[in-house]
């Protein structure tokens, strides 16, 4: 099932090992991320004032976070006025219960879903199944992930790790399709036949939300296939679940985000489908509309001045596509529905920095800064990563690593200690080096010599040379 939740089952190192040793998956990842990366650079370079737009988008999101309560209450009022119903969910369990209750009330045996990353966050599918309600993903990639009992590995391209022939085999096995070729048109055709039947028969839909406008109560979803629009318009009942940070103050604010989101994510000038709806309208679209406002740790994150930047995220996935760590380790390594650099700062915070496995995520970065450069809302991801590492080390207390760094600190506090340590090092390194280099190191440093040599300490340090020159 595709409802992965946000609790990693393994540490990043252990989970990354699985992808790193899977050469096919690494090839798939490399191919897709580099293709999207190049396309995105072109799409962004077409906009002359991209940097100005980034600033506006960043400030708008920051303003929302600083006045979140005001805008959420306004949103509730606007949605209610337009005939919708608003529900507040403090955590994943409450949110699941709300959706299940609505489904059971309407006697729904099946629900169709679109744009469902937030529903994956709350692990909705499995929960509904337990109540006798089957949740059917309608986004093609999400459907692929669901049918293969896999987990999404990318926000934008959930099935990024699968190639076409794998998908053809999957559809033949699960949808009863008889595809001989793995041409995209054939694969899409098989999915279409299956999904059409669902669109016309299923009475309830569940969606996520890209944005919601406080002043009008309008909810907005952007997508590429049009399957979302079917979900949003055909069923009688529509339930949309959104993280509370997705609210925007005014209708005008949407303009800048509809420019930035597609260019940052799919490298398109505009999304093929931008759907917006406001409450319910007689004889048009769903008869009942429910909006579930999900907290699930977000208010806690909001209280942290540095860490709360993560809530500016508009889920474009630009940071994933430029991240060298994501490209090698893959989305599954992050153990959460939020992978990549943004996941590395969002997941542990949503879990209030209490989950030891999620707390390995802030270390899953070389701090190269490519994510910050790519982020359309200017989340300083490297800064937050370092900041969260501070929280993790504090929580862990004394470890072998903290002791090693403490002793290094002691050495670095006084230049004569540093000089002494270098002399000691030179004396002690002899038995461990060969041809002027270390090839095997013990303990914490063994990770280095796993693939790299290390030069030995030279006969003279810089400071010794300087002194010798009599300067």
């Amino acid at each position: 099932m595709s409802d992965g939740g946000i609790h990693p089952a393994k540490t990043f190192v252990d989970a990354a090992h699985d992808t790193l040793s899977n050469t096919q998956m690494r090839r798939n990842l490399r191919h897709v991320t580099s293709a999207i990366r190049d396309k995105r650079t072109r799409a962004v370079s077409e906009v002359d004032n991209w940097e100005d737009l980034r600033e506006v988008a960043s400030q708008t999101k920051q303003h929302v976070l600083e006045n979140l309560e005001t805008y959420l209450l306004q949103l509730e009022e606007s949605v209610t006025r337009a005939g919708g119903q608003v529900h507040w969910a403090t955590d994943a369990r409450e949110a699941r219960e709300i959706v299940a209750k609505i489904a059971l009330k309407h006697g729904a045996k099946e629900v169709i879903k679109i744009k469902s990353i937030t529903t994956d966050e709350i692990e909705l599918n499995g929960f509904l199944q337990g109540r006798g309600v089957a949740a059917i993903e309608t986004d093609l990639a999400e459907l692929i992930v669901q049918l293969s009992h896999d987990r999404p590995s990318h926000i934008l391209v959930p099935a990024i790790h699968k190639n076409r022939s794998e998908v053809r085999d999957l559809f033949n096995a699960t949808l009863g399709a008889k595809l001989e070729s793995d041409e995209p048109a054939q694969i899409a055709g098989a999915a279409r036949t299956y999904l059409r039947e669902k669109f016309f028969s299923v009475k309830m839909a569940v969606s996520g939300a890209n944005f919601a406008i406080a002043e009008t109560g309008t909810v907005c979803i952007v997508e590429s296939e049009g399957n979302g629009r079917m979900c949003l318009t055909l069923p009688d009942v529509l339930v949309s679940i959104m993280g509370i940070e997705k609210v925007l103050p005014r209708w005008e604010d949407l303009a800048v985000f509809l420019e930035m989101l597609p260019r940052s994510s799919t490298a398109e000038r505009m999304n093929p489908y931008n759907s917006m709806w406001t409450g319910v309208t007689e004889n048009d679209g769903p008869k009942e509309f429910h909006l579930v406002l999900l907290d699930n740790g977000r208010t806690q994150v909001l209280r942290d001045e540095v860490g709360s930047q993560a809530l500016k995220c508009i889920r474009c996935s630009a940071c994933l596509n430029v991240c060298p760590v994501y490209e090698r380790a893959g989305g599954h390594a992050y153990g959460s529905v939020y992978p990549g650099p943004i996941g590395a700062i969002l997941t542990p915070q949503l879990l209030e920095m209490k989950d030891d496995k999620a707390n390995t995520l802030p270390y899953a970065s070389s701090l190269c800064g490519a994510c910050y450069d790519a982020c359309p809302v200017k989340i300083n991801i490297p800064e937050v990563l370092i900041y969260l590492r501070g929280k993790v080390t504090k929580k862990k207390g004394t470890t072998l690593e903290s002791l090693a760094l403490k002793s290094m600190l002691w050495v670095m506090q006084e230049p004569h200690r540093f000089e002494g340590a270098l002399k000691l090092g030179r004396l002690g390194q002899g038995p461990f080096t060969q041809n002027g280099k270390f090839t095997v190191l013990p303990g914490l440093l063994s990770g280095w010599t796993h693939s790299r040599d290390l030069p030995e300490l030279p006969k003279q340090s810089f400071r010794e040379w300087w002194k010798e020159q009599g300067q």
């Binding site: 790193l20 701090l367 800064g369 600190l409 506090q413 230049p415 790299r452 030069p455 810089f462």
Partner: protein, 247 residues
């Protein structure tokens, strides 16, 4: 100009030749080079690994050591990025306003070697001679935090005898990332192997960069692969002249 050299702990201990080259180069360009022997480490490793209170001890020490400097120059993009970008942040997080003020002042007078030569001294040809095939790896912190841009390339292009070879996928991180290389060794190695194969594709004799930490990683990998390509800090290339004159 009185230039205070921040040699960085890694260069001091492992790459003294880069330090010597930096001194020679700056003197050749007419600068008065000073070395305050009280200096040790900028604290980047502690800060980036999550030991921020330990790092603050070294940050305060650095601020004290260099408080009277006119200009501080270091042959390391990441250490300069630490000083310019993260020192003020560290002081902010610690709620130390006086330190914050001091770090902002420090940031204004601290430069990475190539940006000091090109942007401050306005020199693009340092009169170097280096008859080798060289490829240049732009390091992440120099590119994305310091925005040194073309400065190192401008200098390298004017080196006589040097053939500069374009590095494919040059903007990709080499996978070092300080303690990342050890804590996530397997991912770091995957990044390194792509970087190494890009370097080998160029058929360069030497891979150069402005940061010996990245070069330690890349060079360590190239050495393990017995690639035959060496790593050399660009300060050493720029310091080389046809008739070597010792200072």
């Amino acid at each position: 100009m009185k230039v205070d050299l921040f040699i960085t702990c890694l260069n001091d201990a492992l790459f003294a030749q880069t330090g010597r080259a930096t001194v020679q180069l700056l003197r050749r360009l007419g600068q008065e080079v000073r070395f305050n022997a009280s200096q040790t480490c900028c604290g980047q490793m502690h800060f980036n690994t999550g030991y921020q209170s330990d790092a603050l001890v070294l940050i305060r020490k650095f601020v004290e050591d260099f408080k009277d400097s006119e200009v501080i120059v270091a042959p390391s993009g990441s250490c300069v990025a630490m000083i310019r970008d993260l020192y003020p942040r560290a002081a902010e997080w610690a709620g130390d306003h006086a330190l914050h003020e001091a770090t902002l002042k420090l940031a204004e007078k601290t430069f990475e070697l190539s940006e000091f030569i090109v942007n401050v001294l306005k020199i693009e040809d340092v009169g170097a001679y280096y008859p080798h095939k060289v490829t240049y790896h732009p390091t992440c912190h120099a590119v994305r935090v310091l925005r040194v841009g073309e400065a190192p390339l401008k200098l390298l292009r004017n080196v006589k005898g040097l053939e500069l070879l374009e590095l494919p996928q040059k903007d990709q991180c080499c996978g070092f990332g300080g303690t990342f290389a050890v804590k996530n060794a397997e991912t770091s190695t995957a990044m390194l192997s792509d970087k190494a194969s890009s370097i080998m594709q160029t058929r360069a004799e030497i891979c150069t960069a402005g940061d010996n930490s990245c070069l330690l990683h890349i060079g360590g990998g190239l050495s393990r692969m017995q690639s035959g390509t060496r790593t050399v800090h660009y300060a050493e290339i720029l310091a080389s002249v046809e008739k070597q004159v010792r200072p």
